[in-house]
C-alpha cells in the first residue's frame, strides 16, 4: 500500500465501565499491520486508561492496561495525553505507566512514547490527522 495516512485514535472514556477503551485498542493493534502513521490521543476520562497499578480483580473483567506497554513493538509510539484532562482529574504524569519504544533510527535507543501536551496542542494534533477514530 503506497499511501500513508495519519490515523488518530481519540480515547475519551475510562478503561472500564464501557467497552470503548478495549475495543479501541483492538483497532489500534489490527491497524498497526497496515503501516500507517498512527497516533493515539487521550482526553477526558480517557487519561485513566494509562494510569499505572490498575487492578480489575474486584470487577471480573480483564485488565488490558499492560497491552499499552507492547505498542512500541507495533511501531505505535506517539501517545498524546492532554494535560488539562489529567489536572482536572487530580492526576499527573507520575500517575501514568511508563511506556517506551526502541527508536530504530537512533541506534535502538529507548525513548518515551507518552507526550503530555496542552489542550491547544491537542487541537493541532487533531487538525493534523487524516483519519480520526473517536472512542
Amino acid at each position: 500500500m503506497s499511501e500513508v495516512k495519519k490515523f488518530l485514535y481519540v480515547n475519551r472514556k475510562a478503561p472500564y465501565g464501557t467497552i470503548y477503551a478495549l475495543e479501541s485498542l483492538e483497532v489500534v493493534l489490527i491497524g498497526a499491520a497496515f503501516e500507517q502513521d498512527v497516533r493515539l490521543a487521550f482526553v477526558d476520562d480517557g487519561v485513566f486508561q494509562l494510569t499505572k497499578g490498575q487492578s480489575t480483580d474486584g470487577i471480573g473483567v480483564k485488565n488490558f492496561s499492560p497491552t499499552f506497554r507492547a505498542l512500541g513493538d507495533y511501531d505505535v509510539n506517539k501517545l498524546y495525553v492532554e494535560r488539562e484532562s489529567l489536572e482536572e482529574r487530580g492526576l499527573s504524569e507520575d500517575d501514568l505507566q511508563e511506556i517506551t519504544y526502541e527508536d530504530e533510527d537512533d541506534d535502538w535507543e529507548e525513548k518515551p512514547s507518552i507526550h503530555i501536551i496542552s489542550r491547544a496542542e491537542m487541537a493541532d494534533v487533531m487538525a493534523d490527522a487524516d483519519v480520526v477514530l473517536s472512542f
Binding site: 500500500m1 499511501e3 495516512k5 490515523f7 467497552i19 470503548y20 475495543e23 483492538e26 483497532v27 489490527i30 491497524g31 499491520a33 497496515f34 500507517q36 487524516d130 483519519v131 480520526v132 477514530l133 473517536s134 472512542f135
Partner: protein
C-alpha cells in the same frame, strides 16, 4: 467525494444507525460515493435479521439491507465485536458450534482491517456514535 462510514452505537437505543442511514442516503443522492459502512461496538446489532420492531416504526436493519442492495454498499460487521454480542453468520455459527445464525442479507462479517482499509481508501471517514 468518497465517504467511509462508521456506526458505533446500537440500533433503537441510539440514533447513530439512523443518522448514518440518512447521511449515506443523502450522500448518494448528491452524487457522492459510499463504498462501505463499517459496524463496530454495539453497532454490530444493526445486522440482526431477528429484530421485530412494531409495524408503525422504521425497521433499521431492513433500511440498510435495501440501501445496500440498491446502491451496492458494502456493509461490514466487525467479527470480534459481533462474536462478543452473539452475532453470527452461518459459517461462524458452524465454526463455533452454535445452533443458529442471525446476520441479515446485505451484511457480511469481516475483520477490523476492513475499517482501516476504509480509512485509507476514502476521502473522509465519518463516525456515527456517542
Amino acid at each position: 467525494m468518497k465517504f467511509g462510514v462508521l456506526v458505533s452505537e446500537g440500533p433503537y437505543t441510539h440514533q447513530a444507525a439512523d443518522s448514518a442511514y440518512h447521511f449515506v442516503t443523502a450522500a448518494l443522492a448528491a452524487g457522492h460515493e459510499v463504498p462501505r459502512v463499517f459496524f463496530y461496538h454495539d453497532g454490530v446489532n444493526v445486522a440482526t435479521r431477528l429484530s421485530v420492531p412494531p409495524q408503525d416504526e422504521r425497521n433499521i436493519q431492513k433500511n440498510w439491507t435495501a440501501l445496500a442492495k440498491e446502491h451496492d454498499v458494502d456493509l461490514v460487521v466487525c467479527i470480534a465485536a459481533a462474536q462478543r454480542r452473539g452475532m453470527l453468520d452461518a459459517n461462524e455459527a458452524e465454526r463455533q458450534g452454535k445452533d443458529a445464525n442471525n446476520i441479515a442479507e446485505g451484511f457480511r462479517i469481516s475483520g477490523l482491517g476492513q475499517l482501516i482499509e476504509m480509512g485509507i481508501q476514502t476521502d473522509r471517514l465519518v463516525t456515527f456514535g456517542d
